[in-house]
Symmetry: C2
Subunit: 330 residues, 2 copies
């Protein structure tokens, strides 16, 4: 049997990074066990439980001199590049956003190039639907211009351009996935301006009060954490020739208004849960969210086999299965 892949994950301590690590450790990739997992983040990533392969955890900042070269010196077959400063923080700290999100990404691609020889790792880059900005149509097609209205979106869009060029030149074998807003994010709120989309469901499902900072008629594009991990795993094994010349793909998701989110919550958890949501408008968050897309057509990703939830109830149900029932079992 062929040896399994050696895998590097940046941003491994983040929510998606942890779920991806667990999935790779438990299920392997493309039907093969993973030979080695190298987990990297600015805080120490937890090694997976009961994993038979090699494992290493490194605390490092990809944008620091020499870090990217050191990380790629082991020539991993696959790199999941998830490390990023979130949208709210990139907006608040201009320099840090560019350093981590743009320079860090470029350093990673450049380090792969500097390895030389026939080294050409599959790099799966987590981009975002924040690469799209107003004005845009209500439903955004696959070929729509990237005109981000946040620094975060600009940094991701520039990363996509670099990924395409480094791939075309033969230095890497990249795939960029524009992830929908992940909902319901488990755990504590983070600094992302999009955090409330999860909070208004998660907190009530846990019996806590939640704050809704925008109007209930705000519409947005969602997929569960389980789908997001599925996208990453699928992208890691997708044959390059199937990508044609477009390596940056908008991922499928489900379009819902905040009101529709709350209706789904009501159906699953009852009126008492809905009553836990406090509407406290926040103009700063409303302004950022207003520049974000609402719905997509994603025929390219669907044809390549990417799949997401198809209604809001399913998205709520995934949280209950993966977080609440899972937590009770463990």
């Amino acid at each position: 049997m062929q040896a399994g892949p050696r895998i590097l994950i940046t941003g491994a301590a983040g929510m998606i990074g942890r779920k991806l690590t667990a999935a790779l450790a438990a299920d392997g990739l493309g039907g093969r066990p993973v030979a080695a997992l190298h987990l990297v983040d600015v805080v120490r990533p937890e090694p997976p439980e009961s994993f038979a392969g090699e494992v290493a955890a490194t605390v490092a900042d990809l944008s620091d001199e020499g870090v990217a070269e050191a990380l790629l010196s082991g020539r991993p077959d696959i790199v999941f590049h998830l490390a990023a400063i979130v949208s709210g923080e990139a907006e608040a700290d201009f320099d840090k956003g560019y350093r981590i999100n743009l320079d860090g990404t470029r350093a990673l691609f450049e380090a792969a190039r500097r390895q030389g020889g026939d080294y050409r790792p599959r790099i799966v880059f987590s981009s975002s639907i924040a690469v799209f900005g107003t004005p845009f149509p209500e439903v955004i097609p696959d070929d729509y211009v990237l005109s981000p209205r946040t620094s975060y979106g600009v940094q991701k869009a520039a990363g996509e351009l670099l990924l395409s060029d480094y791939s075309r030149r033969g230095f890497i074998d990249g795939v960029a996935l524009r992830l929908p807003t992940v909902c319901i994010r488990p755990g504590r709120p983070n600094l992302a301006a999009s955090g409330f989309f999860s909070g208004i469901l998660r907190e009530p499902l846990n019996g806590q009060r939640a704050v809704l900072p925008v109007s209930p008629d705000v519409r947005h594009w969602f997929a569960s954490p389980r789908s997001a991990v599925g996208f990453l795993l699928h992208a890691a094994t997708l044959p390059a020739e199937r990508l044609d010349k477009r390596r940056c793909l908008t991922m499928p998701g489900f379009s819902a208004t905040v009101a529709e989110q709350i209706e789904a919550l009501g159906r699953v958890a009852g009126a008492d849960a809905v009553a836990l949501i406090d509407h406290v408008p926040d103009p700063d968050i409303a302004r950022i969210v207003d520049s974000w897309p609402r719905a997509f057509e994603t025929p390219r990703a669907v044809a390549l086999g990417f799949r997401a939830e198809t209604d809001m109830d399913e998205i709520v149900q995934v949280y209950i299965e993966d977080e609440l029932e899972g937590a009770r079992r463990s």
Copy 2:
């Protein structure tokens, strides 16, 4: 009378830079004489003849440490950022292309930001239709995705993203113009892969033989040097509020096949001129050109008052008026 603008031009020694300098010196900008012209390039730019304002010429590379800061320390009102490595060279020298075209552009925007206070120069950035790449429709609309298939195109597209973000954040007041292929370029061929589009007209008009490296049915998007300078001047005085949120504009032009270019040459200069063209296919150039767009719809730029030629004969005629008759007069 209000003092005229102080203007910095990067890439001032290039063909468009020289024509822009001459136009600003002779005609001013927006009906006002120019108070100061600072010309910068990696080779010494020629100061304009008979110009009443201040003039300075600097030999410098924008991507070198501290150069951008020094250039902006005089706080010019308007910056024309034309400096770039051309497409063929950016493809041949990966590092140099990124250093000059991406890092140099970023250094310029960053230097404007570092000036601080209320300094917010209008920066007119010469982007290119090379930001578009296959697959694309035969006629590309204003909102089409930027998916360049050359490193040059990626560098220009990334520059556009930065320009938009630095403008949105209030650090600069940028406008990016995606220039059509400029035709007929005067003077000697340069390293651009697009050079033959001018060469097959220019050389025969000067009684010289010319090489056509691609098929006559290759279609492309053209404007004269006179139009290109006109775009830059118009962009320099366009009120920011008229740009809405889209500061990166595809410029109008004229779509023609190589065969139609040659027919126009025949109409203007006769069959003897056409007979001077040798068809010598070059697969490398054909491959690059094959990834370039052929025609555009540019309603956004047209609504903002940008104008180009509307047929190929006019494009040939502009060369004769501005270069051959002008040369005879001088």
